[in-house]
């Protein structure tokens, strides 16, 4: 029996749409669930993406990828393999794994909504594959890190983080719940597929896999490579949606891009900025986080904007300045509040600080005194005395991104207080305040950690807050990676003879 050519049948399964005879199109795809501007399908009918994958092809490809990941896991994914890795890298791994697993899961929910309410059959098919991808990206880190829990209980936070009220969990949920659960498929496509995936994580995975290779972490390298190939496919939804959105509502397109680029940047800077500039061993650092951003993110993103006829976000100059400071400000702050987080922190020593000065020549002079002060306190206390370099006063948190107030520079913090309907809100930056001001009803009722504390919903002192509300038990709470036992930190006065 003769077989049809692939092109003769593929769209029957992949891009299946039809005219409705007993319901209206707006009832099948209500604006609330499908997104605005609401357009007749005639406007979406040419929606397409370049992969044109069938379900059978998807399953075959994914099975092959899973077999490769499983093979690498069996070869180099045991506890003894991880135990050989650099300690700072392992802590970057804890940060990445915990922030990744349930972000991916939540993205799966957004994709499922697209698989039902996306406005074209090809969009819905790709969104279904995207959902399956995201659940795979949830399962892989959960599987790989689970085996490490008996060895190091901080890895338990790969699964646990999103189920807690840890301040980082509150910040992540505030982002991904809105991005993936609180959006319609159209905004989700711009926020997640176009901005976060195409703009940030797809390229991040390429960079991270190269660094993982250099530090000898073959398992992580293979994991992110495998995930990246999925992301590259389903991220195509974003471009195709944006092309049609721009034709009908360019102002909304620009707003969504501006909003989600900033929201994505804030979290990306913390996770990837920490990893690249502080938690990757110096010998394995190929570029600084800023150089990586300039080469892979800002250039590519600007090309995308130009291709679609969009402008750079209005806060672009502030963003460019933040490349020099933001992740450094958050890292130095978080180092001194490390007991509130589930991974250990590296104290940058003379060589690391010289490297940072070389990479950030315009701003490092503002930041280096903080590390000098912390180092001096370690010298005074001696190793093992964690409290001597930990803050005991409650930090403030942004009412939009929910991260500590660390935008701007040490000389001029960018936080600002705004009143809305009689309530005061504080924002870490002008873009966070702007995002709030555009949709106050969406954000106004959310309480930051400080608001919860003042309302009696969270313990009023930091020790109790850390222990019971952030769920930081002695086994998992963050400490200095070497408990202050750095060879370069030894002095005659306090040298206990320990060297790592």
């Amino acid at each position: 029996m003769p077989k049809l050519n692939r092109d003769d049948w593929i769209d029957l399964g992949r891009k299946l749409d039809w005219d409705y005879s007993y319901v209206r199109e707006e009832d099948v795809f209500p604006e609330l669930l499908s997104g605005r501007p609401w357009l007749l399908h005639a406007e979406w009918q040419h929606w397409d993406e370049p992969y044109r994958t069938t379900y059978a092809e998807y399953v075959d490809t994914q099975a092959d990828k899973d077999a490769i990941v499983q093979g690498v896991r069996e070869a180099v994914g045991r506890v003894e393999d991880f135990a050989k890795l650099d300690r700072s890298w392992l802590n970057g791994l804890k940060l990445h794994a915990a922030t990744m697993a349930f972000t991916e899961f939540t993205a799966g929910i957004g994709d499922i909504r697209g698989a039902r309410f996306g406005r074209d059959g090809a969009w819905r098919t790709m969104a279904l594959f995207g959902a399956l991808d995201e659940f795979r990206h949830t399962q892989i880190p959960l599987l790989l890190m689970h085996e490490l829990v008996p060895w190091d209980p901080q890895f338990d936070w790969t699964h646990r983080l999103f189920h807690t009220n840890n301040w980082m969990a509150i910040a992540l949920r505030h982002l991904v719940d809105e991005m993936c659960v609180g959006t319609d498929p159209l905004e989700f496509a711009i926020a997640t597929n176009l901005v976060l995936e195409t703009g940030f994580t797809n390229l991040q995975f390429i960079g991270l896999s190269a660094i993982a290779h250099d530090v000898g972490d073959r398992m992580f390298e293979k994991m992110v490579t495998s995930i990246q190939t999925d992301e590259a496919r389903h991220a195509q939804i974003g471009h195709s949606v944006l092309a049609i959105l721009i034709r009908h509502d360019p102002e909304r397109a620009q707003h969504l891009v501006d909003k989600w680029f900033w929201r994505s940047w804030i979290v990306f800077a913390v996770v990837t900025g920490f990893s690249m500039d502080y938690l990757t061993p110096l010998a394995a650092r190929r570029t600084s986080f800023k150089e990586f951003m300039e080469e892979w993110i800002t250039d590519q993103f600007q090309k995308t904007l130009t291709a679609f006829g969009l402008k750079r976000p209005w806060y672009w100059d502030f963003f460019i300045e933040a490349l020099d400071t933001y992740h450094h400000m958050v890292y130095a702050s978080a180092y001194t509040y490390r007991a509130t987080l589930w991974f250990d922190f590296a104290l940058p020593g003379p060589e690391e600080r010289a490297w940072l000065r070389e990479k950030y020549p315009h701003t490092w002079d503002l930041l280096d005194p903080v590390w000098e002060r912390i180092t001096e306190r370690w010298r005074t206390s001696g190793p093992g005395i964690e409290w001597s370099t930990q803050g005991a006063t409650m930090p403030g948190f942004c009412n939009l991104c929910q991260i500590i107030l660390s935008n701007g520079t040490p000389r001029a913090n960018a936080a600002r207080v705004v009143e809305h309907l009689g309530r005061k809100y504080i924002f870490c930056s002008e873009p966070c305040a702007w995002i709030f001001s555009r949709e106050p009803d969406r954000y106004a009722d959310h309480k930051s950690v400080v608001n919860r504390m003042l309302a009696g919903e969270a313990p009023p002192n930091l020790v109790e807050l850390t222990r019971t509300y952030f769920e930081m038990t002695p086994e998992v709470r963050g400490e200095d990676m070497l408990r202050g036992r750095y060879p370069w930190l030894r002095t005659h006065r306090n040298d206990p003879g320990l060297e790592v």
Partner: protein, 80 residues
């Protein structure tokens, strides 16, 4: 009455939450914030407190200075 304020110390990397009394003098804000941030920034003997760009008289009380809950104050240590 306790007044929670967002305090920003020049040279520091984040804003902190300070709890002061409405009858505390403004200089208490500078002292409290420097103490709270001392793991990152060495305290100085003298520091000025600013609210909405204006320097506050250190002898004013918090309420007389017009500070209300969740306002932002800036503390700038004086150079040695």
């Amino acid at each position: 009455m306790l007044v929670p304020l967002y305090g920003f110390l020049a040279g520091d990397t984040l804003g902190l939450v300070l709890l002061v009394h409405d009858d505390d003098r403004v200089h208490v804000i500078a002292e409290q914030l420097q103490l709270a941030a001392c793991v990152r920034v060495a305290p100085r003997a003298q520091a000025q407190v600013y609210f909405r760009g204006q320097r506050l008289d250190p002898q004013l009380t918090v309420s007389k200075a017009g500070l209300a809950p969740l306002d932002r104050v800036d503390v700038v240590p004086e150079e040695r």
